[in-house]
């Protein structure tokens, strides 16, 4: 009987397939720069053309100006974002886009070099098609003394150390990046938005609680008796620095600079030097021409990146704007922002990190939502991530001079979980986070409260690098509706619940929950 069914099923399906008229993929692309919407049907031909170009040029810089086609520069682009539109100068140098699997939803691009024009590249990222998720690896863990907040404003790195300013104890915790050993230095004052000089001098902004001048200070951290004491300071404009973006200050050639405009704020202390010169001779500073980042360029103008960022409609507006670009050691820069919906308390989600490569291209990666990782500092010594856990702060690093890698993620993961409107919204700031079992029971109760039947699919799935599928079996044999966990498929072993995009996801010790 089964064979007969199978035969007939095949016949029915084949007959239906034969009856389908296969549409052509679409009309030529007409994607306008500056728009955030698109018609997928018009996009595929461009992608095919792009793929063909990619195959031809194979990621190698095409320097033959006479052979470089203008269409390369105008049609390449990721599917869910816009494409670059660059003017093709009489003398054109076209750089192939990066096609690595590690770059996620990225990049685009086309670079055009005229005699005096900067290279312009769009750098696209969208919450509708998030880039690949980067999985930070904890490099070292430091016990925290008291409550911490605003990690990015209190952490800085140089080539050898990471510093964390603990406001509760008025101490700077200096961590050796080689072995994780820590030393604590009691500070005269507690700066924020800190920068760590090459000789472990702590620079940062001091904002008196009771008024008074706002100052940039320099505090040596391993200089004998001078350690912890302010060695130099200078007042700064209150109007400019009272409200400021994260990571506004950086290491310049001669001292601490405002990364947004290159202003030298405080010269290095005697004996302190700037970071080593870049191999390409470029300066360490990038200018963000518009404070709502739409454009980054090197100060001396050879490159210009145009980030095109499509955020969730529910994304909170950042009061102080995005952090300015941070220079990276390869001659490029790093930028980061948030594209996900905001939590109830206004906390942004979906942090994405863009690497602006020195050849004018770029790529994006994404921090895994719900794990607490965020960019703590970025600069010529790499990008440091940090998160707080119970009783400690964990650090991870994205190596400098290369885009971070991540596993290939099939398809774009969805904005919401498969459970859709049955998903349970739980704020991320629920503390303490309850045991996984409590969340499972909560989910079961919520499912039962839905006006539904057992025909409704009852599977929760994430399609990111930490795919976890939880299947609830539905039983209405007793008259009511009851849900029970019948299967959990996971790719890892987890121990705490997490919230992703305001939807409940579960990280669980798979073995325990399957029993």
């Amino acid at each position: 009987m089964s064979t007969e069914i199978e035969r007939r099923i095949s016949a029915v399906l084949q007959r239906q397939a034969d009856a389908m008229r296969i549409p052509s993929p679409g009309a030529p692309t007409e994607v306008a720069v500056g728009t955030e919407t698109h018609d997928r049907r018009r996009l595929l031909p461009a992608l095919v053309a792009a793929a063909a170009v990619i195959a031809v040029i194979g990621g190698v810089v095409v320097a033959n100006r006479r052979d470089a086609s203008p269409t390369v520069g105008t049609e390449l682009g990721p599917a869910t974002t816009m494409t670059a539109s660059s003017t093709v100068a009489p003398t054109t140098e076209t750089t192939a886009p990066r096609t690595s699997s590690t770059t996620g939803s990225t990049v685009a691009t086309s670079t055009t070099v005229g005699a005096a024009d900067p290279v312009s590249s769009t750098l696209t990222v969208s919450y509708l098609d998030p880039p690949v998720v980067y999985q930070p690896q904890v490099e070292f863990t430091v016990p925290r003394v008291g409550e911490v907040g605003g990690l990015p404003r209190r952490i800085a790195i140089n080539a050898t150390h990471v510093v964390f300013v603990d406001a509760t104890s008025s101490q700077a915790v200096l961590i050796d990046r080689a072995n994780g050993e820590t030393s604590r230095v009691t500070l005269d004052v507690v700066p924020v938005d800190v920068v760590l000089g090459t000789s472990n001098v702590l620079y940062g902004l001091v904002v008196p609680e009771l008024g008074g001048p706002i100052e940039i200070v320099a505090i040596p951290l391993d200089n004998g008796d001078a350690s912890g004491h302010v060695a130099a300071s200078t007042p700064v404009e209150p109007a400019k620095y009272t409200e400021r973006a994260e990571e506004m200050f950086g290491l310049g050639a001669d001292g601490i600079i405002d990364r947004t405009d290159g202003t030298l704020l405080l010269p290095y202390l005697a004996g302190e030097a700037g970071p080593p010169a870049r191999s390409n001779g470029e300066t360490w500073q990038y200018v963000q021409r518009s404070y709502n980042p739409t454009r980054f360029t090197t100060i001396d103008g050879p490159h210009e990146w145009l980030p095109v960022i499509t955020r969730s409609p529910d994304a909170p507006e950042l009061y102080n704007g995005d952090p300015p670009a941070a220079p990276s050691s390869d001659g490029g820069a790093t930028i980061w922002t948030w594209i996900g919906p905001g939590l109830a308390d206004g906390t942004p989600t979906g942090q994405v990190i863009g690497s602006l490569h020195p050849d004018g291209t770029g790529s994006w990666i994404m921090m895994p939502d719900g794990y607490g990782w965020e960019v703590a500092d970025s600069g010529p010594f790499g990008t440091t991530l940090a998160r707080t856990t119970d009783g400690s702060i964990e650090f991870a690093t994205i190596p400098p001079a290369e885009p971070a890698t991540a596993d290939l993620v099939p398809a774009a993961f969805t904005e919401t979980d498969e459970l859709g409107d049955l998903a349970i919204g739980v704020d991320r700031n629920v503390t303490p986070r309850g045991p996984t079992e409590q969340f499972l029971e909560l989910m079961r109760q919520r499912l039962q409260a839905q006006p539904t039947t057992c025909d409704v699919p009852t599977t929760v799935t994430r399609r990111d690098a930490l795919t976890l599928r939880i299947t609830f079996g539905c039983d209405d044999s007793a008259g009511g509706i009851d849900y029970r966990i019948v299967a959990i498929d996971g790719t890892g072993t987890f121990d705490v619940p997490i919230i992703q995009r305001r939807q409940l996801c579960l990280r669980a010790a798979v073995g325990e929950l399957c029993t």
């Binding site: 009987m1 089964s2 007969e4 069914i5 199978e6 035969r7 007939r8 099923i9 095949s10 029915v12 399906l13 084949q14 007959r15 239906q16 397939a17 009856a19 389908m20 008229r21 296969i22 549409p23 993929p25 679409g26 997928r40 049907r41 996009l43 595929l44 992608l47 095919v48 793929a51 063909a52 990619i54 195959a55 990721p78 599917a79 869910t80 096609t99 690595s100 699997s101 590690t102 996620g104 939803s105 990225t106 098609d129 290939l408 099939p410 398809a411 774009a412 969805t414 919401t416 498969e418 859709g420 409107d421 025909d455 409704v456 699919p457 399609r463 795919t467 599928r469 299967a487 498929d489």
Partner: protein, 160 residues
């Protein structure tokens, strides 16, 4: 049972353009089977291929990657349309696709999504249980279970 070439053979060579040419028809057909909406199917198949184009060369088995993308995107489409499972009407679109109205076709269309995906991938695509499991993101044992339930349902609808 099933014709393996229906749902994509091995990648012809390293060119996405060639892969696209060969994959487009079956990606579209698969999406039609899973959505019963030819317009949506066109969009979703294109979206899956667009996603692949950005990461071309990364997937070791692009045809498997594409199958999973189409299956996932079609599922998302159902969720976003708030289609609640049962009794999806069989599509009769305006572009000439007439799925017919025999009882078995109706029963196929009415299967829950994952069961329908298993049946299409198995009996139209000719895929193995392992390949279907990869496309659905589940275990082979789940595929067996889904197939068994689907066949049991369809058997009841089979004209005797």
């Amino acid at each position: 049972v099933g014709v393996r070439t229906n749902l994509g053979g091995e990648r012809a060579d390293g060119s996405f353009e060639e892969f696209f040419t060969s994959a487009w028809p079956w990606a579209y057909r698969l999406a039609v089977f899973l959505t019963h909406d030819s317009s949506a199917a066109e969009d979703l198949a294109q979206e899956a291929l667009a996603s692949m184009s950005r990461q071309w060369g990364a997937a070791e088995r692009p045809e498997a990657y594409l199958r999973r993308s189409v299956v996932n995107l079609c599922w998302n489409w159902h969720r976003h349309r708030r289609v609640v499972a049962r009794r999806l009407p069989l599509a009769v679109s305006d572009d000439g696709y007439d799925a017919g109205f025999d009882e078995l076709a109706d029963a196929l269309a009415a299967l829950p999504y994952r069961q329908r995906a298993v049946v299409v991938l198995r009996y139209y695509g000719g895929l193995s249980e392992a390949e279907i499991a990869a496309a659905l993101g589940c275990r082979p044992g789940t595929v067996k279970s889904l197939a068994s339930r689907a066949l049991a349902t369809l058997a009841e609808e089979l004209p005797r």
